[in-house]
Amino acid sequence: MATIRQALAGKRVLVTGATGFLGTALVERLLRSVPDCEVVVLVREGKRTPAARRVQREILRNDCFDRLRRELGDGFDSTIERRLQVVAGDIGRDGLGLDDAGRAVLASCAVVIHSAAAVSFDSPLDAAVEVNLLGPTRVARAISDSGGSAHLIAVSTAYVAGNRRGDSPEALLPDTPFATEVAWQGEVDAARRAGADFDAASRSGDMLAKFQKDARSELGAAGSPLLASRTEKLRQDWVKQQLIDAGIARAQSLGWPDAYAYTKALGERALLQNRGDVPVTIVRPSIIESALAEPHEGWIRGFRMAEPVIISYGRGLLKEFPGIPEGVVDVIPVDLVVAAIIAVAARGPLADGPDVFQVASGGRNPLRYRRLVDLVRSYYQEHPLYDAEGQPIVVPEWSFPGRGRVQRQLQRASQALATGEKLISALPVRGKQAELSSKLEERRTQAERALGYVQLYGAYTETEAIFQVDRLVALWETLDADDQATFTFDPMAVDWEHYVHDVHLPSIVVHARVRTSAARREGLTREERGRKAVLAPERHLAAFDLENTLIASNVVESYSWLASRRLPADERVRFVFKTLREAPALLALDRKDRGDFLRHFYRRYEGAPAARLEKDAWELFSRLILTKSFPAGIRRVREHRALGHRTILITGALDFVVAPLRPLFDEIVAAGLGVDDRGLLTGELEKAPPTGEARALVMAAYAEAEGLELEQSVAYADSASDLPMLEAVGHPVAVNPEAKLATIARKRGWHVEQWAKTPGGPRPLLPLSPLSPPRDRIGSLGRASR
């Protein structure tokens, strides 16, 4: 028999799903180990990136190709040019979306390896159906429509066997006694209908109101454009979640662990019915994990199924994972799967119809769940992960609990954390305390994620099916010694202890970027990096909010101070209590809409003498504003100026109140009140106050007028109502964020600063001006305070 290399010499092999884990490995292996074949990759056009560019970026730049690049040296690019062809196409469309040229290429191929799939176990039902169920059929039809005669190797999964117990043979599904019989066409229609139904349901008034409310509670008074886009995102997420749940429910009702296995199984059946004359071989790997040896030990792409679970365990987040201790966890290194597929391609199709190979370890070299847990645990005991304080994390003892118990525990934990989070975000806290809420949220996310793992992957640690590999081994035995050395796919080749300890875990620990030593990381901390980024010389505009960003004060305090300045002693006390009594209502209004609040509140200045206020504002500056300022914040403004950046203050405070801050800023955008012909304030704003999205607009207008780019700008603000301003710039900074913003900032990786008043400054109990000498006590300010 010819060697693999000889068998494939001069042949064209088309690979779908080449940007995926298995596909990338396949392309690399074909190019490296089968030097006389040509490779065609079918890649979808990106939204902005053409297919060829995606191949460069997503396939060739992966470290999978490091070895080939090294081996070929300068010849790498020319080899790729000569041997790798890119065809734009889409598995989700009939005819694969191929043009004539594409069809011609397909016609010229001797082998088509279909490895494209929606591999995520929690894909929405409709998407999984389109790709996994209909995909193989579409590929087969495209081959026959192109007039070609390629051998179609369809990559499936061993778990098409469903939740069966006992041996699962390498046979076509219709020939296995236990397989669920379902009419696949009906499933396709139902899935598509479900997609439309959920979408329609999500647009009902009640649901839209709910999404709006959720968006509001997440973002606060962030302005309508932001709330609208957030609401729409929540709606789409909800539809997706419904489809995910529907997928799992449907799959489990039919005896499959999840939508992936379910759609794959139906996909096999559909392919067999629709393949026409196309010769087909189905290859069913089990759980594909990092490479045993090719292209290098531990190579892995993307974070897959077991990795998050194993890392969560190492970090002490996941204390228990259900499973049957003596059950088999069927893991197979990616390079074994790749070698098996190539061997199948070299062998060619069988004359008497489709056949099946399973690439799995369970039947020949089983890894028991207890053994895996022991190996993982002993690995972490020797190489612990470290927490943020540099302390090694002790991994918990595994007790192999039942799935139900773990799920209940995790559910309770996540509910308790959600309640705590809600409680805190309802409190008017900010800065360090608000971070607690953000931390609670993180813990809840972790608990929910753990719960998700248990729900999703629980079935895989409870599988009692044993995947048979007799045909695979028979194929293996036909290879000569050289091919066996080059294309190892005998599951016996895996020494589990070596694989887990020396190959897989070291690789995923690196991929997960978790702390593996107590030492402080090299270089700058996250905080220092953030600071360096905002203070980079190429930035050119820094916009600042005032209240709680630069000073711990607000318009009510300024008003109270100014208004009490000229009051006689007895009226001062009355005035204070009156203001205090109004505080809760004012606060509520402020939370609802900042603009309305300012409009309402500034009415109090009606009738106040403008000139006197301007003068008093200077005293206010020293006595209240500077006293309550954050020195680090003011220093930051000055640092920006020293770097030559423009600085702009955007605040809803009144212009005369912030006038003394003028030397810090190139531009101050503040609220201004009208003045009548007697020099008294009208109490009405001259133009809309700069709040919410108006801030973003002001900033954009300023940047435009001055020829600055928002991408290179920095914005500092403290609350979710400033989101439009923060989102408008390339470098948002959350200062002393209140709970909502803290959460948003953490999720988006925004730089966070905690700026505080300096300890040691005067700390007046009430925002009252000191008592004026008697002849200056000329009475109340404006009309409203009388």
Binding site: W618, F621, S622, R623, L626, T627, S629, P631, A632, I634, R635, R638, P660, P663, L664, K757, T758, P759, G760, G761, P762, R763, P770, P773
Partner: protein
């Protein structure tokens, strides 16, 4: 009975524990047997009729000055300048010396028909005084007569239109001072000479000057060559000011200098034990100490601070002299020495000092770490004539909580100096070369100095330069009971108790060092031979 002079106590087994100030509190510490404690002289007698003495001084001037009435005439421009909030410490009870003197001067001016009179607080680069503070220093009558009419000014060293370049000294030093003062027919300068550093030509050449002028003597080199600045004749600070004074005088600026001295009656009667010698404490003193220190232990420092800052000292005027600057100042210095000089024989390996809650730059404010350093190493260390109390290479042990606290209104540039400059280096020369100019010319600090109540941007540098002589001289500085973080930032060592501090000091000065404690305040000057 004449007051008892200063005294050096040798600690033996029977000596009671010694009082150490510790910020807004005080402690009793047991010094090792053989240590010395320097006690200031008791308060000297006050003038029985201070107002009479003032009037007399004005008509019987010293030096070649005519009596004040002869210098006053209708149609003249008269400017009365006075020392700012940094003097005296603690602020004295009303009436303040400034009020007594200025009222007397204004009376004569009114008699002479002078109607162009302006009062100027000689701030130099200090913060502006608040209305309340001005009112306290000048009294209601003067304040109400001048302030509402815009005739009570505070020197603005950053207003180019209010400054005039008078000339340059033969050492190349610019003399730029307040324009209104310089262009007046007469400057009457009203001093309170709490320590020997104050007064003389320093009043006008420093108090009314701009940064451009001050930088010639407010720098590291000058301070390292002022040994000490309490001793005019060995002080480069004073030499420079005297050169500038000559330029001012030669430019035809007429100055009628009035200097007053105070006795060391520093604390009101309920705190009398603070200025007594411990073995003379009565049962009442001991009770007052116990009660107050225990209460202060339980009081938040913020509250304790406001209690202490409300203290008005019962200081009483001990002398007033007026006339020609140098003649007046010579007499004043004698008077200050009379109250403060304590003869001391020989230096020691270690000097200990308990630092109180106040220094010249934090009246009505928190004493930030830079001011702690300045009070200990700038002021207390320099309270000597002849030789420093501690030998070269010796150790200074300071007792103060040294909190990482600042007043954001008064000391904005201090915060940045502490966070940015001291984080990088504590070497005065390096700081001066690398950072001074940026801070001194920073528009934001200038803005705050001019419009708010902030010390000038360069002021924290001067505080650090004030320590330069001590930093050069000493082998180590240890702060007892300080916030370790701030102490480390200052570049000093932190000890939790005096015993620990002495133990740490032994690494530098050996196992059996000699120790001297400055029992201060009340202020004194160690005359070390």
């Amino acid at each position: 009975m004449s007051p008892r002079p200063g005294f050096v106590l040798d600690v033996d087994r029977s000596t009671p524990p010694t009082l150490f100030w510790h910020g807004e509190n005080y402690r009793l510490e047991r010094l090792p047997v053989g240590s010395r404690v320097l006690y200031p002289p008791e308060p000297v007698a006050a003038l029985t009729d201070p107002d009479g003495a003032v009037r007399q001084a004005l008509v019987e001037p010293l030096g070649d000055s005519p009596p004040l009435p002869e210098l006053l005439h209708a149609g003249m421009r008269l400017t009365i300048c006075f020392d700012d909030i940094s003097l005296p410490l603690p602020p004295m009870r009303r009436p303040d010396n400034r009020q007594r003197v200025i009222e007397a001067v204004l009376e004569l001016a009114a008699e002479a028909g002078v109607d162009d009179v302006v009062l100027i607080a000689a701030l130099a680069l200090h913060r502006r005084m608040t209305d309340d503070e001005l009112r306290h220093a000048l009294g209601d009558r003067v304040f109400n007569a001048f302030a509402p009419n815009g005739l009570l000014l505070q020197h603005d060293a950053e207003d180019p239109s209010a400054l005039v370049h008078v000339g340059t000294t033969d050492a190349g030093e610019d003399v730029e001072i307040n324009k209104r003062a310089a262009e007046s027919d007469l400057i009457v300068y009203v001093n309170i000479n709490l320590v020997a550093m104050d007064g003389g030509w320093k009043s006008t050449a420093t108090g009314l000057a701009s940064y451009k002028s001050l930088r010639h003597h407010h720098n590291v080199r000058t301070m390292q060559h002022s040994k000490s600045f309490m001793d005019q004749h060995r002080s480069e600070l004073h030499s420079s000011n005297w050169r500038m004074g000559k330029v001012i005088r030669d430019a035809g600026v007429k100055i009628f200098q009035i200097e007053t001295t105070l006795n060391s009656d520093t604390f009101p009667s309920q705190f009398a034990f603070l200025q007594k010698r411990e073995w003379e404490w009565s049962a009442k003193d001991r009770a007052a100490f116990l009660a107050s220190s225990k209460a202060l232990d339980r009081t938040p420092s913020r509250v304790a601070r406001s209690i202490f800052h409300s203290i008005k000292a019962p200081h009483a005027m001990t002398s007033v002299q007026a006339g020609e600057v140098e003649a007046v100042h010579q007499r004043t210095t004698e008077k200050v020495y009379e109250q403060q000089l304590v003869p001391v024989e020989g230096q020691t390996d270690i000097v200990t000092m308990g630092l109180p809650y106040i220094c010249p730059y934090n009246v009505n404010s928190v004493m930030n770490p830079i001011l702690v350093a300045c009070l200990g190493l700038g002021y207390f260390f320099n309270l000597y004539r002849g030789k420093p109390v501690v030998r070269e290479g010796g150790v200074a042990i300071l007792s103060h909580p040294t909190p990482w606290e600042f007043n954001p209104v008064h000391h904005p540039s201090y915060i940045d100096f502490f966070e940015q400059v001291l984080a990088e280096t504590t070497d005065p020369l390096e700081i001066e070369a690398k950072f001074e100019e940026d801070f001194a010319t920073d528009p934001w600090y200038i803005h705050l100095y001019r419009t708010s109540y902030a010390y000038h941007g360069v002021h924290p540098f001067y505080m650090w330069y004030w320590c330069a002589h001590a930093l050069q001289h000493l082998g180590g500085v240890i702060i007892v009971g300080g916030d370790p973080k701030s102490v480390r930032r200052l570049g000093f060592k932190s000890a939790s108790t005096l015993v620990d501090a002495l133990e740490m000091a032994s690494d530098i000065v050996g196992r059996s060092p000699t120790i001297t404690h400055l029992h201060c305040p009340p202020l004194m000057i160690a005359d070390v031979t």
